[in-house]
Symmetry: C2
Subunit: 443 residues, 2 copies
């Protein structure tokens, strides 16, 4: 009797086009992709060819608050809005999951429930909702609030928001719409529930004016890593995007969140934990390292030096950019990131400029190497319970995406840890998640 | 020297699938079209083949408040949400304008500005925003408000909302995004404007995190007919959907609104007035009348009798449904609609049941006849300044739409009053509307 090895789940982090600050300047990149739908369509179709679980679109509700010197160099400053982009991508793909961020602090539960339900119907069951509480204080100023809502308060609101949204999704029994042409009865009124929610933060009558989503509920995604964030994830999330930079950190996060689920009586495999991984593929290690280094050369010193100072907990803008990093006194503020930067500086013999470019470009978990090396790393995380897969970030587009799909995916498939064909028709089925029962209408 | 005759503009009123209550039961109809994207795609592509200006999706923010007896028979109860459906249709069409309703009472200006700007980029300049103040009091209960906002207050808010949204659309100069790969400058900071709006109802800092829309602004559409509605339309609208039931009424509305524009210094042709027209096409008049009558047989008596009583200003539910309409005393409540119903009853010799089915199905302006007769009527409205075109409602789908495109459109084209090919690349260009200047960055 053979058992299938644990399967890797792969999301693609596609906001905005790619995460790396220098990516739009990489040879062959599409600098205008933020507003060029044809490019987005090509990316989505390539991801589908590579059997990715989902296209994930993060979001901001403001222009990022950065000094103008770095902002003007940032291709992340403006791009398509996720809930309008994803339906368009739904129309040109068949299997790819479509996950968007929506804020529980700056949107209304009725709107959020409705739009995700609609996307789920349009896409035939491929929608996912990344529930965020929005930590960018500039967003508050775009929504009539002088002060940003405080962290824990945001999470209490988020929890109730979640209850309202899922309650609205359950407004209609799955079989409520009869559409009996003969009798003229369009739906069975006994299968329509009026939510009548009156809570601490929200008062929402319902019912939702959208039939129950194809998936019952769109897949619930979260990305918070604070205490409150982990707890709400354990209670509600079915996929978690996280930012663990080492396997040990990943294992600790994985054990913590899955442990919380167990305490709540939720089966551990009803949530997929997917750390962000920045993947640079080369036919040789040298080629991969060269691509990685080349990418950093497209990051302007101005965009990186402030980030480097923050990571070190020490202002280094006064030092010679082309000299080595001098000894930096310890600070309590950011011990982990400080340590990582110092290790990089020593290992790769980087100048302050190069360090600034590294940090200003991207500074989370990365996998740089041959397809075999990358598959080894991914497998180690999977087998070692550091994750259930990854939310992949491509270093530049379309090249970095093409390389991953053409070179890494076949290696993962050869090892039997990644699908060759989509298992199901919906995102939920592909992720191996159960379909939620309707709380008002038990089957 | 020949001058081109005035050109007809045609929108398609597609919410939800079609307006007539019995339409989903008509032979050949798609009862599941509300949640079947393949059908919506077919409709949109047919409209494009027929050179329609736009697909218009109306909206409600609640399940319609009707007695269950009629609600359960209504295919309008639940369907796709417009701002998720239209981007999906954008991906499968090339020329068709895409107009959605968004509420100034229950949504935030930053969200509305962003989504319509995004749709405009996704579609290459084909978005339109139907600005509504939302008159359905049930909507308030889905957004945490116990009482609905009062009518004139809604319009004052709407006016400020409009200023904020258009101000946000002007956040970026048209040429702000330089994307200079060589220097690494993505945009020119001097071409980004922070709105910093602080008004009576809204406080919105900006800038919008979406580049200026392809059309400058998506086309501004309105549908209000009250005093406040006409005035805000004259001030801001570029297309007006209206519900005038006779040419005389149409002429009076047209003269009034265009007169208001002139007083404000706006050229009259910077707004297209498009009354709703329910069009039933037959190869003979008899065939068209038979289709029309057949359609009404699919409306249940329960769905019509309440509407009939309201239209007459008198409860007629106690009379014999299969007898003629008895003499109804005059009432002040609804003189025009009462008169129209009595005329129908006499002219078409309708029983109370048939009248109820007529009123319960659809009761606005209709054009029933051969392609020539319909083109005659449309031309009379156009030449007589009753309208600039129509927002066409199809009696059932796909048949009623196919008939219009295959039979009426060629007749309109033959007369030289409707395009054979799209004139421009954007909705604005096809409608013959100017591109708004950016108030912060004059060219």
């Amino acid at each position: 009797m053979s058992t299938q090895p644990r399967q890797l789940r792969l999301g693609a982090f596609m906001r905005p086009v790619t995460i790396h600050t220098g990516a739009w300047r990489y040879p062959g990149a599409y600098p205008d992709a933020n507003f060029n739908f044809a490019h987005m369509k090509r990316f989505a179709q390539t991801l589908e060819r590579g059997r990715f679980d989902a296209f994930f679109m993060a979001d901001h509700l403001a222009v990022l608050n950065m000094p103008v010197a770095s902002l003007k160099r940032s291709h992340t400053v403006t791009s398509f809005e996720p809930m309008t982009l994803l339906p368009a991508l739904a129309a040109v793909t068949e299997h790819l999951g479509l996950i968007a961020t929506a804020s529980t602090t700056f949107d209304a539960p009725y709107h959020v429930a409705r739009r995700f339900a609609s996307l789920d119907h349009i896409s035939g069951g491929r929608a996912g909702w990344n529930l965020v509480t929005t930590s960018n204080p500039d967003a508050a100023l775009n929504f009539g609030l002088e002060e940003h809502v405080e962290h824990d308060e945001r999470y209490r609101r988020a929890r109730e928001f979640f209850d309202v949204v899922t309650g609205l999704w359950d407004s209609w029994a799955d079989d409520a719409l009869i559409r009996d042409v003969e009798s003229g009865i369009f739906f069975d009124p006994d299968k329509l529930h009026v939510l009548d929610h009156k809570g601490k933060y929200y008062s929402v009558r319902g019912p939702l004016n959208i039939a129950r989503p194809v998936q019952g509920w769109p897949v619930i995604v979260q990305a918070g890593s604070s205490e409150a964030g982990r707890q709400i994830a354990a209670e509600t999330a079915e996929a978690v995007f996280t930012a663990q930079t080492t396997l040990e950190q990943g294992q600790s996060f994985y054990a913590d969140v899955k442990g919380r689920m167990e305490k709540l009586g939720r089966p551990r495999d009803h949530m997929k934990i997917l750390p962000a991984a920045f993947v640079v593929v080369g036919d040789t290690l040298d080629e991969a390292l060269e691509k990685r280094a080349r990418l950093d050369t497209f990051v302007h010193y101005d965009s990186g030096i402030a980030s480097l100072s923050i990571a070190l907990g020490h202002d280094v803008s006064g030092f010679d950019p082309d000299g080595p990093l001098p000894e930096i006194p310890e600070s309590n503020a950011s011990r982990t990131s400080r340590q990582r930067v110092i290790e990089w500086a020593e290992r790769d013999k980087l100048t302050i400029r190069q360090l600034a470019q590294r940090i200003g470009g991207y500074s989370g978990l990365e996998m740089v190497g041959t397809p075999t090396m990358i598959a080894d790393q991914m497998e180690a995380w999977l087998v070692g319970e550091g994750s259930d897969g990854f939310n992949v970030m491509f270093p530049y587009l379309p090249g970095g995406l093409d390389d991953f799909v053409d070179k890494v995916v076949p290696e993962l498939q050869r090892r039997g840890i990644f699908r060759r064909e989509y298992e199901g028709a919906t995102l939920r089925e592909n992720l191996g998640l159960p379909r939620p029962e309707n709380r008002f209408f038990r089957a």
